[in-house]
């Protein structure tokens, strides 16, 4: 496969992994949400993310050209082969952490998909057209919760700020750029950091201002996922995510 195609395949796989792992984490809330309404809305968003992951894996499989399927990529790789950023694999902790994690990610993906929608790659741009609508709603839904919890009771404000302090150091990895990503940026297929970061920052600032949250200074960004170096809890996530395909290879329903 041509070098540029190799870079694109690796870059698409990073984004696919982000979506699958974040979607899986969010789906863990199903049946455990603090209220019935959220018990529907969180799995709704999880299904958006997993749906986007499917399209991305299918494309990555085609680019790879080795006969692997989207399921092979999603379920039959080892932990070190996943290149999602660390933030998306973090445990849910509480509702405040979960809403903030979704907001950080959605605020990044919106300008990302908006750029890709008009990019030169027709497969990616059609995925982006659908994804940008879904992710816009994630920003609105999670943003409204972050505002209400941050500017809510003493306890909700405290727990929301704790979530910011815990998760903010992970946000830097969203902007990770390696050789693969850079090649796609040079080809005009994926957006450069300077395209995405200002919009991400504007979205986060607007929510945090209303939520009365302060952004901690990050002296030590938490990185590693893009290079396959994951946290301990990632192993447990994969065990559950992959169980069915490992126990019953090729199972279908």
């Amino acid at each position: 496969m041509a070098e540029s195609q190799q870079h694109l395949q690796a870059a698409v796989l990073q984004i696919a992994d982000d979506h699958l792992i974040l979607g899986h984490r969010l789906s863990e809330w199903c049946g455990h949400a603090p209220m019935l309404e959220e018990d529907l809305s969180m799995p709704n968003m999880a299904l958006d993310l997993i749906g986007q992951a499917r399209h991305l894996y299918a494309y990555a499989a085609v680019l790879e050209g080795k006969g692997r399927s989207e399921d092979d990529l999603a379920y039959l790789r080892t932990d070190r082969e996943y290149t999602n950023c660390l933030m998306v694999e973090r445990g849910n902790t509480d509702f405040a952490h979960t809403m903030l994690k979704q907001l950080y990610f959605a605020a990044f993906m919106k300008p990302f998909w908006s750029f890709v929608e008009n990019s030169s790659d027709s497969t990616l741009s059609s995925i982006a057209g659908k994804a940008v609508k879904e992710i816009s709603y994630h920003i609105r839904h999670c943003g409204e919760w972050v505002i209400r919890l941050g500017d809510g009771t003493d306890e909700s404000a405290q727990r929301m700020q704790q979530a910011v302090d815990a998760l903010h150091p992970y946000t830097e990895e969203l902007f990770w750029c390696d050789d693969h990503r850079q090649a796609c940026i040079d080809d005009g297929v994926l957006p450069a950091e300077h395209v995405v970061r200002p919009q991400w920052q504007t979205t986060i600032n607007a929510v945090f201002d209303q939520a009365r949250l302060s952004t901690p200074e990050v002296t030590f960004p938490l990185l590693g996922g893009r290079e396959g170096k994951h946290t301990e809890e990632f192993g447990f996530l994969l065990a559950e995510l992959q169980y069915m395909q490992r126990a019953y290879p090729g199972a279908q329903w």
């Binding site: 603090p34 209220m35 019935l36 309404e37 959220e38 709704n44 609105r140 409204e144 209400r148």
Partner: protein
């Protein structure tokens, strides 16, 4: 979180298509109007049920008294002349 002061009840109305009326579909709990609209979107429009949502606080709805339904509604029963069925419609008008 289902405390009725923090999370009051909202009634949800959905318009299935342009040109049709909003129709009551159910209720839900939410802290305020914005979250009620979002919850309504997530709970009641997952299967393309509509393209517009209204929510209204359940406590803001005034209902007629069921005990007074006889005096409210029975008097209309024998006034069939109120139905527009006593006119000859010219053929040119077609179906009305």
């Amino acid at each position: 979180m289902s405390d009725s002061k923090m999370m009051p009840l909202w009634e949800v109305f959905i318009r299935p298509r342009n040109g049709l009326n909003h129709k009551h579909v159910g209720s839900l709990h939410a802290a305020d109007g914005e979250l009620a609209l979002q919850a309504a979107r997530d709970v009641y429009t997952r299967r393309e049920e509509g393209n517009s949502i209204w929510v209204v606080r359940a406590e803001d709805i005034l209902a007629s008294d069921p005990d007074k339904s006889a005096e409210n509604f029975d008097p209309a029963a024998d006034k069939i002349y109120r139905h527009p069925s006593f006119y000859d419609i010219p053929d040119e008008v077609g179906h009305m």
